[in-house]
């Protein structure tokens, strides 16, 4: 199976659990399980080759100019991690099916889980660090959703936010570090970077890159001092904790360290930063874990401690230590997932996770007891179980490594941490399952059904099996993964239980015995621990967060105080300053084009425009007059377009003008009819000076532009030359719109549709508030015409309607070869409809209008899209148009182009958008009793009796 498919399967699977949840929770869970299982099978099919030492690759050049390629590769390390992610993922899916209650939205859960799983698989298989960073961020986001899955719990929300804040900011640092790494290596492909060890370690940017990348890894893998988010993430449902904190999320940081190990490790900086952090985290996590009463908190700190152990091993920088790290990654994932699941079972059955309220459960839950005991003993490091093997390797490595000249520091602290690890592992068994049976459990605990115990049972069997037959079961995998981590020859090694009587063995046994002793003394130690003052990470974090929020609020409030006029002024003045700087600091060449003479016509138009603009500016307080004047400006502009060889623009401008004025009139119906004087004369003069300067600058700029030739050869020649031969039309502007730059147009009709939908939903929102009552009771604030629907206008628009539609059709059809096209035709057709609204009123016209404007917009966009996609079947890129010439005998030869369908889409989208916008505005004006049966106030068809017998009755009729 292609690596693309393996990565894609979880993402593809995201929709199914969410959709199938209606078919039942089993269907939802099996959909999630199937996607995971398929990906796992696909992965395992590659396993033999990878274990032989091959590297599977799959490459697509995505954005090669940015160095971002969709390249994936699968080596031993990738196989190990992807196997853990998918394998444990499968068990979690099974477990979660029975763990979640009926009230929990299961479809959502599996969708998030698969999203997270896909992101994780993406991280471990990416061969491009930019791609990897995308997946990395995706794990932060999807884990946020998973941790906060129980939205109703404040702890869940806070924990999710904290995890996102910590891992997200680490991710930012990671991006910086990775970019530095890529620029040193000259490539963003991991395999390429991994070959450049010397160049990277010699670079002066090595240390910044190292620190930034490690920040990302340490936050993700909860290393001290960033460990505090992990225990708070325990507010998530247990399946999430079991998944994120045993095999996946927190291991992503370890994975990254292992991935870049070949190029970054081996330097003193690496050793002291990584090994020391790991060492500190290991001890701190283990000590805190012993004093946690919440089962999951205990396991969370134990995870922190174990992650520290692995980090430390990676930090040693020796090959044997790397092997031990890889082996412990497997072992920890297996026993920790099992332990989390048993903690979940206890919580599920006893309704509490508080160790102080538990005890004696071995009689009530023998099966859970067995599983938990095996896993916990493995965590403690009891011989023959898998945890023992890697822990002993760790101790052996610690004994062999000197830290700052001392051979004692590492083994002493590691041994102490191992002792505490043994102590809290024993406590997990002793204080939960051993001891006398109690009578005050919040519920009556008993072993759950197989759905809940199958998955941890399987893992417990693995714990024993890996412990006994380590070399046979995981030896090749460890070897392949270690080979990938160290990037070279490995020392000979064999995973085995018995290494002979050596110091590491004594240290192991010493740790176990000390652990037992610590458990005996637990009560006293706990009192001491509780009496000891210690910094609470959450309080510090919250205070920091509050401080940042306060700071940004202060800054925002000062800068963004709602004085929009001032923003606009600052913007204009700043632009002017920039332009002025450009003008006065640069040089300007001589004009290269001749100025054309102006005949009388343009001069008249110029006077019209200047006069209208000047009047508008000075008389804008009279809003109706302003509308008339801006109409004059618009008309002059469209005439100028026509004069200057742009017939398409002229037609578009003039029809947009009509629609815009109607829109503004509709709006003015509600707004005050005049603008009061708000600013003093001084302010107005100041604004006038700013505006004048901007006008002067713009005029100068456009003049300078027009009297010079193009600095670079234009691409217009191409359009002129290929319009007929390539696009099949002689109206080059239209061919550009529907063919050469069809994608732009496609985007544009979507934007237009969205604008109309925004207007529609704003209207809806507005009408659902108190505004509705205000509108209904509104009295018109200017004199209304006595004849709201005049006879002449109704008749005239009825006659005009078919003519206008015919013109629109004509304009549409000829658009490809002569001025016209979908935009203009759409606007004309809209105007034809709007005339009916104006003549007979909104209610009357709406009743006779049987199409939903939303549907018209949608079908327009769809038709345009389908036309574009049709090009694919022709073997050409999206939206390439095709055309041919046809002859039907009585007619002349005519041309048909697929561009016409695209233009039809444009037409429909424009019609729908314009009408939806205007209709929405008109709905605001609706008042009861406005829908009349008749198209006009006078009913010409009425058949009044010649003489009114009862004057009262006649009066009623006329109402």
């Amino acid at each position: 199976m292609s690596l693309f498919l393996i990565v894609a399967l979880p993402f593809l699977g995201v929709v199914f659990p969410a959709l199938l949840v209606r078919a039942g929770r089993d269907a939802s869970a099996s959909a999630a399980g199937t996607a995971t299982l398929l990906a796992l099978i696909g992965l395992l099919l590659h396993a033999p080759a990878v274990l032989r030492g091959e590297v599977i690759t799959a490459r697509i050049d995505w954005l090669p100019n940015l160095g971002l390629n969709a390249n994936f590769f699968l080596d031993g390390l990738g196989l190990l991690f992807a196997g853990l992610i998918l394998g444990i993922g499968l068990l979690i899916i099974l477990y979660a099916r029975y763990y979640l209650s009926r009230e929990d939205p299961m479809g959502q859960f599996y969708a998030y889980l698969l999203l997270f799983q896909g992101a994780m698989v993406g991280i471990v298989l990416s061969d491009n660090i930019l791609l990897l960073l995308v997946f990395w961020e995706l794990t932060s986001l999807s884990s946020f959703l998973l941790i906060g899955y129980w939205k109703h719990l404040p702890e869940g929300r806070q924990g999710a936010r904290m995890a996102l804040a910590v891992t997200g900011s680490g991710g930012l640092a990671m991006i910086g570090g990775m970019l530095i790494l890529g620029s040193i290596a000259g490539s963003y492909d991991l395999t390429e970077i991994l070959r450049n060890k010397e160049a990277i370690q010699a670079s002066p940017l090595y240390l910044p890159a190292l620190i930034l990348i490690l920040l990302g890894c340490f936050t993700k893998s909860a290393q001290f001092p960033f460990h505090f988010w992990l225990p708070h993430a325990m507010a998530a449902p247990t399946p999430v904790s079991a998944y994120l904190h045993s095999a996946t999320m927190v291991k992503a940081g370890l994975f990254m360290m292992a991935r870049v190990w070949p190029v970054l490790a081996g330097t003193p900086e690496w050793f002291y930063i990584v090994a020391t952090t790991g060492l500190a985290t290991m001890l701190i996590g283990a000590v805190i874990a012993l004093f946690k009463d919440d089962l999951k908190a205990l396991l969370a700190f134990s995870t922190v401690s174990n992650l520290g152990l692995i980090t430390m091993l990676l930090g040693f920088g020796t090959k044997m230590a790397a092997i031990a790290a890889v082996f412990h990654i497997i072992n920890h994932a297996v026993y920790k997932a099992a332990l989390f699941m048993t903690a979940g079972i206890v919580d599920h059955e006893a309704h509490t996770r508080d160790i102080k309220r538990l005890g004696g459960l071995r009689h009530l839950m023998p099966l859970t007891f067995t599983i938990a005991t095996i896993a916990a003993l493995s965590m403690a490091g009891l011989p023959t179980l898998n945890g023992f093997l890697s822990k002993e390797m760790m101790l052996a490595e610690a004994l062999d490594t000197t830290w700052n000249g001392s051979r004692l520091v590492l083994p002493a602290i590691a041994g102490l941490a191992a002792a505490f690890t043994a102590a809290y592992s024993f406590r997990y068994i002793a204080h939960v399952f051993l001891g006398p049976k109690r009578h005050d459990y919040p519920a009556s605990p008993h072993d759950p059904g197989p759905g809940l115990w199958l998955a941890p049972m399987f893992l417990a069997v693995l714990v024993v099996a890996i412990g006994l037959f380590s070399q046979a079961l995981v030896g090749p995998l460890v070897k392949a993964a270690s080979y990938a981590v160290t990037g070279g020859d490995l020392p000979e090694f064999k995973l085995k239980i018995w290494h002979g009587f050596n110091t590491a063995l004594f240290l192991s046994f010493g740790a176990l015995l000390t652990g037992l002793a610590l458990l005996r003394l637990h009560g006293g130690l706990e009192r001491g621990w509780n009496a000891m003052p210690r910094p609470e990470a959450k309080t510090i974090f919250d205070a920091l967060l509050r401080w940042i929020a306060e700071l940004s609020r202060t800054v925002t409030d000062r800068l963004h105080d709602g004085a929009i006029s001032r923003y606009a002024m600052i913007f204009v003045v700043f632009t002017l300053l920039l332009a002025g700087y450009g003008y006065f600091s640069g040089t300007i060449g001589l004009p290269t084009r001749d100025v054309q003479d102006a005949p009388i016509l343009p001069i008249i138009a110029w006077f019209c425009l200047i006069a209208a603009t000047a009047l508008l500016t000075f008389l804008h307080r009279n809003r109706q007059l302003a509308l008339v004047l801006i109409g004059v400006v618009g008309l002059t502009v469209s005439m100028s377009f026509n004069y200057l060889s742009a017939p398409d623009l002229a037609m578009t401008q003039i029809s947009v003008e009509v629609v815009t004025i109607i829109l503004l009139l509709l709006c003015l119906n509600f707004l005050p009819k005049g603008t009061p004087v708000d600013s003093s004369l001084g302010i107005r003069v100041r604004d006038g000076v700013i505006a004048g300067a901007a006008g002067l600058g713009t005029a100068g700029l456009v003049y300078a532009l027009m009297v010079r030739d193009f600095a670079f050869p234009t691409i217009s020649e191409y359009h002129l030359a290929n319009s007929k031969t390539g696009g099949g039309g002689t109206n080059v502007v239209n061919v550009i719109l529907v063919d050469f730059r069809g994608f732009d147009t496609f985007g544009e009709i979507i934007v237009l549709g969205i604008a109309a939908l925004v207007i529609f939903s704003l209207t809806e929102a507005l009408l659902s508030t108190r505004v509705r009552a205000y509108l209904l009771n509104r009295k018109p604030d200017w004199p209304q015409s006595g004849d709201a629907h005049p006879l002449m206008m109704v008749v005239a628009t009825r006659v005009m309607m078919p003519i206008a539609l015919m013109v629109a059709t004509y304009i549409f059809l000829r658009g490809h070869n002569l001025p016209g096209g979908g935009f203009i035709a759409g606007l004309i057709a809209s105007i034809a409809y709007v005339m009916q609204y104006m003549a007979s009123g909104f209610g009357w016209a709406a009743e006779r209008q049987h199409f939903y404007y939303h549907g018209i917009i949608g079908s327009g966009v769809l038709i345009a899209a389908i036309t574009g996609i049709g090009a694919w079947f022709n073997g050409v890129p999206f939206l390439t148009s095709d055309f041919g010439y046809f002859q039907i005998p009585p007619l002349e030869e005519f041309e048909l182009a697929t561009a016409m369908f695209f233009d039809l889409g444009v037409f429909l989208a424009v019609v729908g958008a314009v009408l939806l916008a205007l209709e929405s505005l008109s709905r605001l004006a609706w008042q009861p009793g406005m829908v009349t049966e008749h198209a006009m106030d006078i009913n010409p068809a009425r058949d009044d009796p010649p003489e009114a017998e009862d004057p009262a009755q006649t009066a009623v009729k006329e109402d």
């Binding site: 929009i564 901007a694 604008a755």
Partner: protein, 114 residues
């Protein structure tokens, strides 16, 4: 003719900016419309001015054509600016109907000059 067009663009820009700096929604909308005209004509002028040379291919005679590309760009710009105007008009209307005030500056003391 270039001078006529350049001064027209300048006057439209000045008028647009002056109106945008007003404190009520309606003049600001008018100002935006004015500015839209100015910008569209500016873009159009970047193809240089030509009379009687529409970019419609003539198969009978070899004639000059003006630059079609700015025209196509401006055509979409005109339609988009209609969409923009419509949305802004709606926002202005919604703001006015909800707050009964058509001031655009939000401030603790309305009427204060900003």
């Amino acid at each position: 003719m270039e001078l006529l067009l350049a001064t027209a663009v300048g006057v439209l820009t000045a008028s647009g900016i002056y109106l945008i700096l007003r404190k009520r929604t309606f003049p600001v909308i008018l100002g935006l419309s004015q500015l839209t005209y100015a910008v569209n004509v500016f873009l159009f002028a970047s193809g240089r001015l030509a009379v009687n040379a529409p970019p419609v291919l003539n198969k009978y005679a070899d004639v000059a054509y003006t630059d079609p590309l700015p025209q196509a760009l401006v055509l979409t710009a005109i339609v988009i600016s209609f969409g923009m105007t419509a949305v802004i008009v709606m926002l202005a209307l919604a703001a006015y109907l909800s707050s009964r005030s058509d001031r655009i500056d939000m401030g603790p003391a309305p009427g204060d000059d900003a």
